[in-house]
Homo-oligomer: 155 residues x 6
Amino acid sequence: MVEGARLQFSPILGKTDPSFAREKDMSKPQPIEYTKAGSKVRAVFDDIKRSRRVEDVNNFWKYLARDPVLLKRTWQSLKEVMAPGALDVLTKEMLYLAVSISNGCPYCIASHTAAARKAGMTEAMFGELMGVVGMANETNRLANGFRVPIDAAFE
Amino acid sequence: MVEGARLQFSPILGKTDPSFAREKDMSKPQPIEYTKAGSKVRAVFDDIKRSRRVEDVNNFWKYLARDPVLLKRTWQSLKEVMAPGALDVLTKEMLYLAVSISNGCPYCIASHTAAARKAGMTEAMFGELMGVVGMANETNRLANGFRVPIDAAFE
Amino acid sequence: MVEGARLQFSPILGKTDPSFAREKDMSKPQPIEYTKAGSKVRAVFDDIKRSRRVEDVNNFWKYLARDPVLLKRTWQSLKEVMAPGALDVLTKEMLYLAVSISNGCPYCIASHTAAARKAGMTEAMFGELMGVVGMANETNRLANGFRVPIDAAFE
Amino acid sequence: MVEGARLQFSPILGKTDPSFAREKDMSKPQPIEYTKAGSKVRAVFDDIKRSRRVEDVNNFWKYLARDPVLLKRTWQSLKEVMAPGALDVLTKEMLYLAVSISNGCPYCIASHTAAARKAGMTEAMFGELMGVVGMANETNRLANGFRVPIDAAFE
Amino acid sequence: MVEGARLQFSPILGKTDPSFAREKDMSKPQPIEYTKAGSKVRAVFDDIKRSRRVEDVNNFWKYLARDPVLLKRTWQSLKEVMAPGALDVLTKEMLYLAVSISNGCPYCIASHTAAARKAGMTEAMFGELMGVVGMANETNRLANGFRVPIDAAFE
Amino acid sequence: MVEGARLQFSPILGKTDPSFAREKDMSKPQPIEYTKAGSKVRAVFDDIKRSRRVEDVNNFWKYLARDPVLLKRTWQSLKEVMAPGALDVLTKEMLYLAVSISNGCPYCIASHTAAARKAGMTEAMFGELMGVVGMANETNRLANGFRVPIDAAFE
């Protein structure tokens, strides 16, 4: 059993619980600003700012900073994944945006729409991207619902 | 109330139900081959074959053909969406594939991997696409879980 | 490679980027009102208003209007899909709502709850719809998690 | 810490692990047939067979039977949810099917297609249901991607 | 056909519809407070308050109260599911939170983060939970996208 | 525009396309066995085998090996994420499994059920995990569908 799991009551909070004030303060994650960050977090923030040539990092990174190991791993992975390679930055940002729209993540849609535009996505490109994302979501369900077997040619 | 809904028992089938044999035959959708298709379906199949310069249509279309109106609308929409425009065919196929992978549709992954390769996706491009899809799915949840507010710059 | 993808830095925006002010204005899509719409968009808006006997279209259409081709295709498809046929309008709106709830799309839940109520969904019907959507989401995962093979009777 | 979690190595199995044979047998859940079921499971199986007038229960129930408490709760909830009320059985089965298609659960699609047909869903109804499920999945993403604010009328 | 489905126009609301004011009031569900609740709802609210030792129930229950049968079934199921058993309360709350984050349900993330913290989840545990949820979502897509067949050892 | 995107026809494959044989071979990813792997892939495979004390790696890694950079990054991230820390290995494997079940990834369900059992998950624990995953998926939709606002206590 997990330590401290001796609590016998169902734990969802209510207003009158005696320990409520302290617990409540913990319930919503808070961002960590550069000036209050430890050295591990600052090192990542510095690398983000240098790589992106910006004065401050986005909220996403300030929240991940609650866990410096998670912050560092996520940034290093993202930096590697989004670097230009066989695919250019614009294509990668549009793929990222398409997935984020399909998953319905409001923060990610907002930040990657901005990133894709910065990388060169025009309004016409965005409109066509939306068309593809919409059709893919539609036909994904049509294939599921009709229980379509995979063509021999695709095996 | 829907007609014929006077059935008072819960309707999931079992082996011994007297009307089972007939009902079971209905339960799994079956494809419609060109030779057995009506004129509306044939007109769509002909257009697909002409547009894609192929001898036969994929399973997807043979199943949609159960509903000729759905078949025609889906094909016309898809043809419009996937035509080259502000985005080229390869980019569109990769976006389609990325969404299909993210949604976990086995048929769509198989068919759009083939389509993207046909349009020029190399193995290196596919590997990077997978990297982006993976990271987007990861960071979509990180943003949700930390309840990250959208930066003022993105509003 | 996509044109203009020569940008070597990772493109997510930050406050101090020199080109930021201009880019930022692009980042959040804006609605297009009838008075500022071109003729293609106006033709669709007019058809929506006529079909639904309303004075103005919903926000959804004003945003889609950023891409007139997408706007027109989506409206024509939706009009065809939602017309009474083998299924009546109320049943179709409840199906639409059930999927939107399951997918967690706040806009779609709001607009299709209103549409379903308009088509005759009572509060009792809505409560039962919620019960079905909840159980379907639960048992979908139970079937996945226990790796239940499909019964021979359903093949 | 959870008991027995003193294992210091990452636990994904490989062929040569000494304890492999025993562990592997545990890895895929197995169904429980009536003749091998305990009294609690039999009581639920009997109620399913009586309610649905079938000789045997579907695979779904035979797998849930691994956990008799889960089996009983799921059956009782499902029986209550799917009983005719403000919505008839056919409408409920179509809602169940629409959600299962949207979620991409192969078992659930197979079993609830059969159940909906049994309750009266014709092929024309199924085709229209697919049209609605497809469009809902498409427009859910369009609303997300364009970040459409909820109309004041829906608040 | 569903009763009252004789409406021939597409039903999405607009400002000028004559029946709009009345319909609009119905469109957004409203909570039911204890003082306005009927006896069935009060009985459930009382049990929640007693079980959780709180003065008032959370918003979730006040909205479910629109359908007293749904409210009662959901509370009874949840009470059974979340009681300590083979898994302790903290582990259960973290599983609940992980699924809610993965699904992107803002209300559920907020309430189950609070519940998990109440049950003993530290900030370090939360950071590691986020790491697991993120990686699971990433590798789920990698397995799908590469069409990885299940190892014989897992069958 | 992406290079090689000069293809003017819609690219989904058909049997008779002249370039079909070559393209088809590319369409389904194939695993890379140790004996055919390059040095970068072998280094990762060796580390997996050493860390997990197994003779061969699972299919998942053999497919990721198509992209050695993706393989290395994924393994390093996974090793870091799944190491015992504030959460023990069993809890982490159950969280991983819960997300994989919720997402409906067949490969991941199979492999992480095995991994969780190896780490000590009993059948009773698995049954309760399934109960939690099921309820979370249900109540996630109830909260969405009733548009429940977040309680002030959780902000």
